[in-house]
Protein backbone atom coordinates (compact mmCIF):
# COMPACT_ATOMS: atom_id res chain seq x y z
CA UNK A 1 0.00 0.00 0.00
CA UNK A 2 1.42 3.34 -0.89
CA UNK A 3 1.38 6.10 1.65
CA UNK A 4 -0.98 8.24 -0.40
CA UNK A 5 -4.05 6.06 0.12
CA UNK A 6 -3.48 5.46 3.81
CA UNK A 7 -4.61 8.14 6.22
CA UNK A 8 -1.37 9.49 7.50
CA UNK A 9 -0.64 11.38 10.67
CA UNK A 10 -2.03 14.84 10.45
CA UNK A 11 -2.40 14.65 6.70
CA UNK A 12 -6.05 13.75 6.70
CA UNK A 13 -8.93 15.01 8.78
CA UNK A 14 -9.85 12.87 11.78
CA UNK A 15 -12.86 10.69 10.86
CA UNK A 16 -16.16 11.67 12.50
CA UNK A 17 -17.03 9.86 15.75
CA UNK A 18 -19.61 7.63 14.02
CA UNK A 19 -16.92 6.48 11.66
CA UNK A 20 -14.46 5.82 14.46
CA UNK A 21 -17.13 3.73 16.12
CA UNK A 22 -17.60 1.71 12.93
CA UNK A 23 -13.88 1.10 12.68
CA UNK A 24 -13.61 -0.17 16.24
CA UNK A 25 -16.70 -2.28 15.69
CA UNK A 26 -15.08 -3.90 12.67
CA UNK A 27 -11.78 -4.56 14.40
CA UNK A 28 -13.40 -6.04 17.51
CA UNK A 29 -15.78 -8.20 15.48
CA UNK A 30 -12.92 -9.58 13.50
CA UNK A 31 -10.95 -10.65 16.55
CA UNK A 32 -11.69 -13.56 18.85
CA UNK A 33 -9.28 -12.17 21.43
CA UNK A 34 -9.64 -8.92 23.31
CA UNK A 35 -7.91 -5.97 21.67
CA UNK A 36 -6.27 -3.35 23.87
CA UNK A 37 -7.11 0.34 23.59
CA UNK A 38 -3.50 0.97 22.62
CA UNK A 39 -3.76 -1.54 19.79
CA UNK A 40 -7.03 0.04 18.63
CA UNK A 41 -5.44 3.47 18.66
CA UNK A 42 -2.60 2.13 16.56
CA UNK A 43 -4.98 0.67 14.00
CA UNK A 44 -7.24 3.67 13.69
CA UNK A 45 -6.21 6.86 11.91
CA UNK A 46 -4.27 9.35 13.97
CA UNK A 47 -6.34 11.64 16.14
CA UNK A 48 -9.17 9.20 16.86
CA UNK A 49 -10.66 9.16 20.34
CA UNK A 50 -10.77 5.44 21.03
CA UNK A 51 -12.05 5.81 24.59
CA UNK A 52 -15.03 7.88 23.54
CA UNK A 53 -15.84 5.69 20.56
CA UNK A 54 -15.79 2.66 22.86
CA UNK A 55 -18.32 4.31 25.16
CA UNK A 56 -20.65 4.92 22.23
CA UNK A 57 -20.18 1.43 20.89
CA UNK A 58 -20.80 -0.12 24.27
CA UNK A 59 -24.11 1.62 24.72
CA UNK A 60 -25.09 0.78 21.16
CA UNK A 61 -24.75 -2.92 21.94
CA UNK A 62 -26.39 -2.77 25.36
CA UNK A 63 -29.22 -5.27 25.52
CA UNK A 64 -28.31 -6.83 22.19
CA UNK A 65 -27.40 -10.42 21.40
CA UNK A 66 -23.76 -9.43 21.35
CA UNK A 67 -22.10 -7.14 23.89
CA UNK A 68 -19.01 -5.03 24.05
CA UNK A 69 -17.13 -6.08 27.17
CA UNK A 70 -14.00 -4.87 28.84
CA UNK A 71 -11.36 -7.46 29.65
CA UNK A 72 -8.50 -6.04 31.69
CA UNK A 73 -6.76 -3.64 29.32
CA UNK A 74 -8.63 -4.97 26.33
CA UNK A 75 -12.02 -4.90 24.71
CA UNK A 76 -13.96 -7.69 23.07
CA UNK A 77 -17.34 -8.55 21.58
CA UNK A 78 -19.02 -11.44 23.37
CA UNK A 79 -22.47 -12.98 23.04
CA UNK A 80 -24.96 -12.23 25.80
CA UNK A 81 -24.72 -14.84 28.56
CA UNK A 82 -28.49 -15.37 28.68
CA UNK A 83 -28.36 -16.79 25.16
CA UNK A 84 -25.85 -19.48 26.03
CA UNK A 85 -28.45 -22.21 25.57
CA UNK A 86 -28.64 -21.33 21.85
CA UNK A 87 -24.97 -22.05 21.45
CA UNK A 88 -24.94 -25.75 22.22
CA UNK A 89 -23.00 -26.54 19.08
CA UNK A 90 -20.33 -23.99 19.84
CA UNK A 91 -19.83 -25.14 23.40
CA UNK A 92 -16.38 -26.45 24.04
CA UNK A 93 -15.79 -29.35 26.34
CA UNK A 94 -13.46 -28.07 28.99
CA UNK A 95 -11.32 -30.45 30.91
CA UNK A 96 -12.65 -30.74 34.42
CA UNK A 97 -10.34 -28.99 36.78
CA UNK A 98 -9.28 -30.75 39.95
CA UNK A 99 -10.41 -29.33 43.25
CA UNK A 100 -6.84 -28.40 44.01
CA UNK A 101 -6.64 -26.44 40.74
CA UNK A 102 -9.92 -24.64 41.32
CA UNK A 103 -8.99 -23.65 44.86
CA UNK A 104 -5.51 -22.60 43.85
CA UNK A 105 -6.98 -20.47 41.07
CA UNK A 106 -9.37 -18.80 43.49
CA UNK A 107 -6.59 -18.14 45.98
CA UNK A 108 -4.43 -16.56 43.29
CA UNK A 109 -7.32 -14.45 42.00
CA UNK A 110 -8.31 -13.20 45.44
CA UNK A 111 -4.83 -12.77 46.91
CA UNK A 112 -2.69 -11.82 43.93
CA UNK A 113 0.21 -11.37 43.78
CA UNK A 114 0.60 -14.46 45.94
CA UNK A 115 3.54 -16.78 46.52
CA UNK A 116 3.52 -20.55 46.47
CA UNK A 117 4.14 -20.62 50.23
CA UNK A 118 1.09 -18.44 50.83
CA UNK A 119 -1.10 -20.67 48.69
CA UNK A 120 0.15 -23.68 50.61
CA UNK A 121 -0.51 -22.02 53.91
CA UNK A 122 -4.09 -21.24 53.01
CA UNK A 123 -4.82 -24.71 51.68
CA UNK A 124 -2.75 -26.50 54.31
CA UNK A 125 -1.15 -28.78 51.73
CA UNK A 126 1.78 -28.74 49.37
CA UNK A 127 1.07 -27.30 45.97
CA UNK A 128 1.84 -29.79 43.26
CA UNK A 129 3.71 -28.74 40.16
CA UNK A 130 0.92 -30.22 38.03
CA UNK A 131 -1.66 -27.87 39.48
CA UNK A 132 0.35 -24.81 38.59
CA UNK A 133 1.18 -26.26 35.18
CA UNK A 134 -2.47 -26.87 34.43
CA UNK A 135 -3.45 -23.32 35.29
CA UNK A 136 -0.50 -21.97 33.33
CA UNK A 137 -1.47 -24.07 30.33
CA UNK A 138 -4.98 -22.66 30.43
CA UNK A 139 -3.28 -19.26 30.48
CA UNK A 140 -5.30 -18.27 33.48
CA UNK A 141 -2.30 -17.53 35.67
CA UNK A 142 1.20 -16.26 35.05
CA UNK A 143 4.21 -15.25 37.08
CA UNK A 144 4.04 -11.85 38.71
CA UNK A 145 6.91 -9.90 40.17
CA UNK A 146 9.20 -11.48 42.69
CA UNK A 147 8.31 -10.65 46.25
CA UNK A 148 10.91 -8.39 47.85
CA UNK A 149 11.30 -10.63 50.87
CA UNK A 150 14.15 -13.00 51.75
CA UNK A 151 14.55 -15.58 49.03
CA UNK A 152 12.75 -13.26 46.59
CA UNK A 153 10.00 -15.79 45.94
CA UNK A 154 8.04 -15.81 42.70
CA UNK A 155 4.45 -14.68 42.81
CA UNK A 156 1.46 -15.68 40.75
CA UNK A 157 -1.18 -13.41 39.30
CA UNK A 158 -4.22 -14.02 37.09
CA UNK A 159 -4.15 -13.12 33.41
CA UNK A 160 -6.49 -11.24 31.08
CA UNK A 161 -7.38 -14.67 29.69
CA UNK A 162 -8.71 -15.51 33.15
CA UNK A 163 -10.77 -12.31 33.21
CA UNK A 164 -12.07 -13.07 29.72
CA UNK A 165 -13.04 -16.62 30.59
CA UNK A 166 -14.91 -15.65 33.72
CA UNK A 167 -16.45 -12.50 32.29
CA UNK A 168 -14.66 -10.12 34.63
CA UNK A 169 -13.68 -6.60 33.66
CA UNK A 170 -10.85 -6.36 36.20
CA UNK A 171 -9.64 -8.52 39.07
CA UNK A 172 -11.39 -6.06 41.37
CA UNK A 173 -14.71 -7.29 40.03
CA UNK A 174 -14.30 -10.69 41.63
CA UNK A 175 -17.46 -11.43 43.58
CA UNK A 176 -17.14 -10.83 47.29
CA UNK A 177 -13.62 -9.46 47.08
CA UNK A 178 -14.46 -6.43 49.19
CA UNK A 179 -16.04 -8.52 51.92
CA UNK A 180 -12.98 -10.75 52.01
CA UNK A 181 -10.66 -7.83 52.27
CA UNK A 182 -12.49 -6.41 55.27
Amino acid sequence: MSDETKPGPGLFPVPPMGEQERMIEAVLFASAEPVTSAELAKRLPEGCDVAEALVHLRSRYAGRGVHLVRVGDGWAMRTAADLGWLMRTEQVETRRLSRAAIETLAIIAYHQPVTRAEIEEIRGVTLSRGTIDQLMELEWIRFGRRRMTPGRPLTFVVTDGFLDHFGLETPRDLPGLKELRE
Binding site: S31, E90, G124, G176
Partner: protein, 261 residues
Protein backbone atom coordinates in the same frame (compact mmCIF):
# COMPACT_ATOMS: atom_id res chain seq x y z
CA UNK B 1 -40.81 -33.38 57.25
CA UNK B 2 -40.03 -36.48 59.23
CA UNK B 3 -39.00 -38.39 56.20
CA UNK B 4 -36.75 -35.50 55.33
CA UNK B 5 -35.16 -35.52 58.76
CA UNK B 6 -34.64 -39.24 58.53
CA UNK B 7 -33.00 -38.88 55.17
CA UNK B 8 -30.80 -36.22 56.68
CA UNK B 9 -29.78 -38.64 59.40
CA UNK B 10 -28.96 -41.29 56.88
CA UNK B 11 -26.96 -38.82 54.90
CA UNK B 12 -25.06 -37.80 58.04
CA UNK B 13 -24.38 -41.41 58.92
CA UNK B 14 -23.23 -42.19 55.40
CA UNK B 15 -21.00 -39.17 55.61
CA UNK B 16 -19.55 -40.42 58.88
CA UNK B 17 -18.75 -43.76 57.34
CA UNK B 18 -17.35 -42.12 54.28
CA UNK B 19 -15.20 -39.99 56.54
CA UNK B 20 -13.66 -43.01 58.09
CA UNK B 21 -13.01 -44.94 54.96
CA UNK B 22 -12.30 -42.30 52.41
CA UNK B 23 -9.11 -40.60 53.56
CA UNK B 24 -8.04 -40.02 50.00
CA UNK B 25 -10.92 -37.65 49.46
CA UNK B 26 -9.28 -34.98 51.59
CA UNK B 27 -6.88 -32.38 50.48
CA UNK B 28 -4.80 -32.44 53.59
CA UNK B 29 -5.49 -32.13 57.31
CA UNK B 30 -6.91 -28.62 57.06
CA UNK B 31 -9.49 -29.85 54.59
CA UNK B 32 -10.39 -32.74 56.90
CA UNK B 33 -10.71 -30.34 59.83
CA UNK B 34 -12.97 -28.09 57.81
CA UNK B 35 -15.21 -31.02 56.92
CA UNK B 36 -15.34 -32.12 60.54
CA UNK B 37 -16.08 -28.60 61.71
CA UNK B 38 -19.11 -28.42 59.45
CA UNK B 39 -20.66 -31.15 61.51
CA UNK B 40 -20.73 -28.87 64.50
CA UNK B 41 -23.30 -26.91 62.50
CA UNK B 42 -22.20 -23.59 63.91
CA UNK B 43 -20.54 -20.56 62.43
CA UNK B 44 -16.83 -21.15 62.10
CA UNK B 45 -16.25 -18.13 64.31
CA UNK B 46 -17.98 -19.91 67.17
CA UNK B 47 -16.55 -23.33 66.58
CA UNK B 48 -15.33 -25.34 69.53
CA UNK B 49 -11.72 -26.02 68.69
CA UNK B 50 -11.52 -28.42 71.59
CA UNK B 51 -14.38 -30.47 70.22
CA UNK B 52 -12.87 -30.28 66.76
CA UNK B 53 -9.53 -31.54 68.04
CA UNK B 54 -11.29 -34.48 69.65
CA UNK B 55 -13.18 -35.26 66.43
CA UNK B 56 -9.96 -35.18 64.49
CA UNK B 57 -8.15 -37.42 66.94
CA UNK B 58 -11.04 -39.87 66.85
CA UNK B 59 -10.84 -39.92 63.09
CA UNK B 60 -7.13 -40.61 63.14
CA UNK B 61 -7.66 -43.40 65.69
CA UNK B 62 -10.37 -44.93 63.54
CA UNK B 63 -8.15 -44.81 60.50
CA UNK B 64 -5.40 -46.51 62.46
CA UNK B 65 -7.79 -49.21 63.64
CA UNK B 66 -8.69 -49.85 60.01
CA UNK B 67 -4.99 -49.99 59.25
CA UNK B 68 -5.36 -47.09 56.86
CA UNK B 69 -2.07 -45.44 56.40
CA UNK B 70 -2.30 -41.73 56.94
CA UNK B 71 0.07 -39.32 55.31
CA UNK B 72 2.63 -37.74 57.62
CA UNK B 73 0.99 -34.31 57.60
CA UNK B 74 -2.22 -35.80 59.02
CA UNK B 75 -0.19 -37.26 61.87
CA UNK B 76 1.66 -34.01 62.45
CA UNK B 77 -1.68 -32.25 62.71
CA UNK B 78 -2.90 -34.96 65.10
CA UNK B 79 0.11 -34.47 67.36
CA UNK B 80 -0.34 -30.73 67.30
CA UNK B 81 -4.05 -30.99 68.08
CA UNK B 82 -3.35 -33.39 70.96
CA UNK B 83 -0.94 -30.81 72.32
CA UNK B 84 -3.44 -28.01 71.81
CA UNK B 85 -6.16 -30.07 73.47
CA UNK B 86 -4.07 -30.62 76.60
CA UNK B 87 -3.16 -26.94 76.72
CA UNK B 88 -6.81 -25.95 76.38
CA UNK B 89 -7.82 -28.29 79.19
CA UNK B 90 -5.06 -27.33 81.63
CA UNK B 91 -5.03 -24.01 83.46
CA UNK B 92 -2.63 -21.61 81.76
CA UNK B 93 0.94 -21.69 82.97
CA UNK B 94 1.88 -18.05 83.69
CA UNK B 95 5.61 -18.75 83.23
CA UNK B 96 5.16 -20.10 79.73
CA UNK B 97 6.08 -17.81 76.86
CA UNK B 98 4.60 -17.57 73.40
CA UNK B 99 0.99 -17.60 72.28
CA UNK B 100 -1.64 -18.88 74.66
CA UNK B 101 -3.72 -21.96 73.91
CA UNK B 102 -6.63 -19.65 73.14
CA UNK B 103 -4.51 -17.77 70.61
CA UNK B 104 -3.53 -21.00 68.91
CA UNK B 105 -7.14 -22.14 68.83
CA UNK B 106 -8.23 -18.80 67.43
CA UNK B 107 -5.59 -19.02 64.73
CA UNK B 108 -6.77 -22.48 63.74
CA UNK B 109 -10.33 -21.20 63.54
CA UNK B 110 -9.10 -18.33 61.39
CA UNK B 111 -7.30 -20.71 59.04
CA UNK B 112 -10.44 -22.79 58.67
CA UNK B 113 -12.51 -19.69 58.04
CA UNK B 114 -10.07 -18.50 55.41
CA UNK B 115 -10.03 -21.84 53.65
CA UNK B 116 -13.81 -21.92 53.73
CA UNK B 117 -13.95 -18.41 52.26
CA UNK B 118 -11.67 -19.50 49.42
CA UNK B 119 -13.79 -22.62 48.85
CA UNK B 120 -16.85 -20.45 48.52
CA UNK B 121 -15.04 -17.99 46.30
CA UNK B 122 -13.87 -20.86 44.09
CA UNK B 123 -17.43 -22.13 43.89
CA UNK B 124 -18.76 -18.72 42.93
CA UNK B 125 -16.00 -18.31 40.39
CA UNK B 126 -16.69 -21.62 38.69
CA UNK B 127 -20.40 -20.86 38.77
CA UNK B 128 -19.99 -17.67 36.78
CA UNK B 129 -21.02 -17.33 33.17
CA UNK B 130 -17.98 -18.56 31.34
CA UNK B 131 -16.47 -18.04 27.94
CA UNK B 132 -17.25 -20.96 25.68
CA UNK B 133 -20.10 -22.10 27.92
CA UNK B 134 -22.53 -19.25 28.47
CA UNK B 135 -21.02 -16.56 26.34
CA UNK B 136 -18.97 -16.82 23.21
CA UNK B 137 -16.27 -15.15 21.23
CA UNK B 138 -16.44 -14.56 17.52
CA UNK B 139 -16.70 -17.91 15.81
CA UNK B 140 -15.18 -16.81 12.56
CA UNK B 141 -12.48 -14.32 13.41
CA UNK B 142 -11.13 -12.66 10.33
CA UNK B 143 -7.48 -13.10 9.87
CA UNK B 144 -6.12 -9.84 10.97
CA UNK B 145 -2.56 -8.83 10.73
CA UNK B 146 -0.04 -11.02 9.05
CA UNK B 147 0.65 -8.54 6.36
CA UNK B 148 4.32 -9.06 6.45
CA UNK B 149 6.02 -6.19 4.80
CA UNK B 150 9.60 -6.86 4.09
CA UNK B 151 11.64 -3.77 4.26
CA UNK B 152 14.80 -4.25 2.34
CA UNK B 153 17.79 -2.36 3.38
CA UNK B 154 21.40 -1.91 2.46
CA UNK B 155 24.28 0.14 3.70
CA UNK B 156 26.54 2.43 1.80
CA UNK B 157 29.42 0.08 2.42
CA UNK B 158 27.52 -2.81 0.84
CA UNK B 159 26.78 -0.62 -2.14
CA UNK B 160 30.40 0.38 -2.56
CA UNK B 161 31.64 -3.14 -2.06
CA UNK B 162 29.23 -4.40 -4.67
CA UNK B 163 30.44 -1.87 -7.15
CA UNK B 164 34.08 -2.53 -6.43
CA UNK B 165 33.49 -6.23 -6.80
CA UNK B 166 31.93 -5.67 -10.18
CA UNK B 167 34.59 -3.32 -11.49
CA UNK B 168 37.72 -4.90 -10.13
CA UNK B 169 36.61 -8.50 -9.99
CA UNK B 170 38.10 -8.84 -6.57
CA UNK B 171 36.72 -8.26 -3.16
CA UNK B 172 37.31 -4.79 -1.83
CA UNK B 173 37.82 -4.81 1.88
CA UNK B 174 38.67 -1.73 3.90
CA UNK B 175 41.34 -2.60 6.46
CA UNK B 176 39.07 -1.97 9.41
CA UNK B 177 36.88 -4.81 8.33
CA UNK B 178 39.67 -7.32 8.02
CA UNK B 179 38.92 -9.86 10.65
CA UNK B 180 40.61 -12.95 9.35
CA UNK B 181 43.04 -13.00 12.26
CA UNK B 182 40.47 -12.33 14.93
CA UNK B 183 38.80 -15.17 16.73
CA UNK B 184 35.39 -13.88 17.86
CA UNK B 185 34.18 -14.44 21.42
CA UNK B 186 30.91 -15.94 20.21
CA UNK B 187 32.79 -18.59 18.27
CA UNK B 188 35.00 -19.32 21.26
CA UNK B 189 31.97 -19.63 23.52
CA UNK B 190 30.26 -21.99 21.19
CA UNK B 191 33.34 -24.14 20.83
CA UNK B 192 34.10 -24.25 24.55
CA UNK B 193 30.49 -24.95 25.48
CA UNK B 194 30.49 -27.91 23.14
CA UNK B 195 33.78 -29.32 24.43
CA UNK B 196 33.68 -28.63 28.17
CA UNK B 197 31.45 -31.61 28.93
CA UNK B 198 34.33 -33.92 28.13
CA UNK B 199 36.79 -32.11 30.40
CA UNK B 200 36.21 -34.29 33.42
CA UNK B 201 39.73 -33.59 34.62
CA UNK B 202 41.68 -30.36 34.77
CA UNK B 203 42.69 -29.51 31.22
CA UNK B 204 44.89 -26.77 29.83
CA UNK B 205 42.78 -23.99 28.31
CA UNK B 206 45.18 -23.86 25.35
CA UNK B 207 44.01 -27.34 24.44
CA UNK B 208 40.66 -25.89 23.51
CA UNK B 209 42.03 -23.60 20.79
CA UNK B 210 40.71 -24.45 17.35
CA UNK B 211 43.04 -26.05 14.82
CA UNK B 212 44.76 -23.43 12.71
CA UNK B 213 44.94 -20.99 15.63
CA UNK B 214 47.43 -22.82 17.79
CA UNK B 215 50.73 -21.73 16.30
CA UNK B 216 52.36 -18.80 18.11
CA UNK B 217 51.42 -15.41 16.68
CA UNK B 218 48.52 -13.00 16.47
CA UNK B 219 46.04 -15.71 15.62
CA UNK B 220 46.94 -17.72 18.71
CA UNK B 221 46.83 -14.63 20.90
CA UNK B 222 43.39 -13.71 19.63
CA UNK B 223 42.07 -17.26 20.02
CA UNK B 224 43.53 -17.59 23.51
CA UNK B 225 42.06 -14.28 24.63
CA UNK B 226 38.61 -15.17 23.31
CA UNK B 227 38.71 -18.68 24.72
CA UNK B 228 39.74 -17.32 28.13
CA UNK B 229 36.91 -14.78 28.04
CA UNK B 230 34.55 -17.60 27.07
CA UNK B 231 35.76 -19.70 30.02
CA UNK B 232 35.01 -16.83 32.39
CA UNK B 233 31.53 -16.58 30.96
CA UNK B 234 30.93 -20.32 31.39
CA UNK B 235 32.36 -20.20 34.91
CA UNK B 236 29.85 -17.47 35.68
CA UNK B 237 27.12 -19.75 34.36
CA UNK B 238 28.40 -22.46 36.68
CA UNK B 239 29.42 -24.86 33.96
CA UNK B 240 33.11 -25.01 34.65
CA UNK B 241 35.79 -24.28 37.22
CA UNK B 242 38.99 -22.41 36.47
CA UNK B 243 42.35 -22.97 38.13
CA UNK B 244 45.76 -21.40 37.85
CA UNK B 245 48.45 -22.66 40.22
CA UNK B 246 50.59 -19.54 40.01
CA UNK B 247 51.00 -16.35 38.03
CA UNK B 248 51.61 -17.07 34.33
CA UNK B 249 51.08 -20.76 34.90
CA UNK B 250 48.80 -22.43 32.39
CA UNK B 251 45.14 -21.79 33.02
CA UNK B 252 43.26 -25.00 33.51
CA UNK B 253 39.54 -25.65 33.30
CA UNK B 254 37.31 -28.49 34.37
CA UNK B 255 33.65 -29.28 33.75
CA UNK B 256 31.56 -28.62 36.83
CA UNK B 257 29.66 -31.75 37.75
CA UNK B 258 25.93 -31.83 38.21
CA UNK B 259 25.45 -28.65 36.26
CA UNK B 260 25.00 -30.27 32.91
CA UNK B 261 22.45 -28.11 31.24
Amino acid sequence: MEAGAEQGDIAARLEDEALIVDVDGYEGPLDLLLTLSRRQKVDLRRISVLQLAEQYLTFVEAARALRIELAADYLVMAAWLAFLKSRLLLPPDPTEEGPSAEDLAAHLAFQLERLEAMREAAGRLMGRDRLGREFFARGAPETQAIEKRTQHTATLLELIQAYARLRTKDEFRPYAFDRTDIYPLETALERLRGMIGEAVQWSDLAGFLPPGWRAAGTRRRSALASTFAASLELAKQGRLDIQQTETFAPIRVRHRQGEAR
